[in-house]
Symmetry: C2
Amino acid sequence: MSLIVQKYGGSSVGTPDRILNVARRILQAQRTGNQVVAVVSAMSGVTDNLIKLAGQVAPQPTEREMDVLLATGEQTTIALTAMAINGLGGRAVSLTGAQAGIVTDGVHTKAKIANITPRRIHTFLDARSIVIVAGFQGESLEGQITTLGRGGSDLTAIALAAAIKADLCQIFTDVDGVYTCDPRIVRNARKIPEISYDEMLEMASLGSKVMQARSVEFAKKFRVIFEVRSSFNDQPGTLVKEETAGMEKVVIRGVSVDRKQAKVTISHVPDKPGIASRIFSEIAAINVNVDMIVQNVSASGTTDISFTTLADELPKIEKHLGPIVEEIGAKGFSAQGGIAKLSVVGIGMRSHSGVAAKMFELLGKADINIQMISTSEIKISVIVDEARVDEGANIVHAGFGLNV
Amino acid sequence: MSLIVQKYGGSSVGTPDRILNVARRILQAQRTGNQVVAVVSAMSGVTDNLIKLAGQVAPQPTEREMDVLLATGEQTTIALTAMAINGLGGRAVSLTGAQAGIVTDGVHTKAKIANITPRRIHTFLDARSIVIVAGFQGESLEGQITTLGRGGSDLTAIALAAAIKADLCQIFTDVDGVYTCDPRIVRNARKIPEISYDEMLEMASLGSKVMQARSVEFAKKFRVIFEVRSSFNDQPGTLVKEETAGMEKVVIRGVSVDRKQAKVTISHVPDKPGIASRIFSEIAAINVNVDMIVQNVSASGTTDISFTTLADELPKIEKHLGPIVEEIGAKGFSAQGGIAKLSVVGIGMRSHSGVAAKMFELLGKADINIQMISTSEIKISVIVDEARVDEGANIVHAGFGLNV
């Protein structure tokens, strides 16, 4: 008998009918001989409605109270899901985050899980019950209701799986796995059967928004094997786990595209120690998130520093960067949208040389100009014209043998 | 400085605007020099929606899960109310029933309060915070979420007032007090400034549905003085308290009308010990709530037994009473709707004789026929034709000097 943690997101439990489907799926998992703990999110739309309601009574709602309010969303779903299972002849109990023993720090709206005391979960499992746990929420040591912030339900599932030493954690969502590329961009994209935590992390941060990075990091830290799969069909999904020897045989696991990027170049920056730190702490102070940073070798006592950010940030940059540039004694800056980031990810590139060269060659042959380059151990990212990024993704996807 | 418990019902917090009004009212109470604990209900309509949602996932939802589900209603209101107060420049925190230390037995959907540990409430009050507590809910000793059933928020307020030794408990509702009669029936009805617990109990059970009897009983037991008043204006309401010497001077405190009653008579019942018990336990078994019971002196070895019930119960009675009648050896039964109960209530009648006689005389003069009579120490009820009960109420109200 295996112990399984399942997690169902907001769209999977978005209507009473869908909750009934989820209930059947959970029962099925139990009837095939498993103990099941299911983590559920708020029904889709509910959290947004609660936030709207809050805005109608207070311009800036207290974060402590926001947590009390938002926690009702998942509490509603756990009750409905447990009822549905009981109504179908099964046996289920619901537990709020606090009841499930999920203890967090006291940072409201973005609490971190401090530890989990799954005593009550085990008691109910031992009594042959299915346990439905509210995702996204916990309780601080002081007994306050807390929420874990965006992607919190995934985190609840992974952390619970670690705490109760589950054999498997299944993340049910509205996509049926992680693909070699977004199928809307590359028609020949394939579902990836197995992926390492590190690759998943790079895929996630690069725009394959299946899961928040911190959930994957948590899973990596506690070696929780999890599967990303669809709650709307019975296809196997993508298994995320520690890397195995076999994984390295595949050079590139996937191709990732981030659109709506912008590139900012500060020109003739005095080439002296501490200057980059000053620039980017000033930029952090105006709340602009910087992604890639590129600085070339200095030629004549000054250098150009470029960085990328979301195109949405351009107005803020145009408003605030002038004084910063002046203060550090640079000549000026240019900011430009209309670009995109194309990345290839794979732990295999560690043992295969020439991956970057091959990527550049593929793009060069198609006459797609590379404006910036940034690399890490297991990914290579380039900035290209947004109008040509889809074409580039298809070429790279095919060139690295990822097509079906 | 006084310590006040306020309670706001579902219609008082029915919209964001109304929640803001309630927030202002609570702040006002604090700013005039009081410590304030406010108990709030679910926004009107929310509980019904949750029950509907439950019905869509399970034909007979588990009661444990129903409690988890319904408890979200009040949790939403406490968060919004606390936010609203904070947004208006005040300082408030919300507490769920469990967080407020309200411990109940484990009977889901109709739990009884076992005890209250208001440690956390005192901590927040001491820190000059207003405390907003979720009505209607608690936590069992086993840590399960429970709800108190209908009228539960009033009970929460009264019980909290007792536990924290509040100076006053104010029940804000959509009526502005207890009246000598329903003003829709008797135009000259007056608001009663003070009423004893016992009178309030009789008024409540007789149809002045301001509060559930068990809340009043709880207040009586723990000597909690409470005021019933409107959340939509600033008029003083009705103070409910232990009876004082002065109260007895008023013979009749109020007149109460219950419409839609039905009268059932079982004829020629064998007059032997245990027969009434058998009849009414059989009737209880078919889930019919009996109100008045009248049995006349036996004449010839048999007797007639009559009782009243709600007219809604008539189909059930017509379906099931036949076999019962047969089984006990009675001759038959007749059931009839279209009647109403008219009652006068007042602790003063204990020390004033002739109240019943005067009531009968008033009705007799108006040619209103009395079909049944039932009396207790502080009330007299008669059954009359439903078509004439309003007229009777006006006559009795005027006759006992209650008119404005």
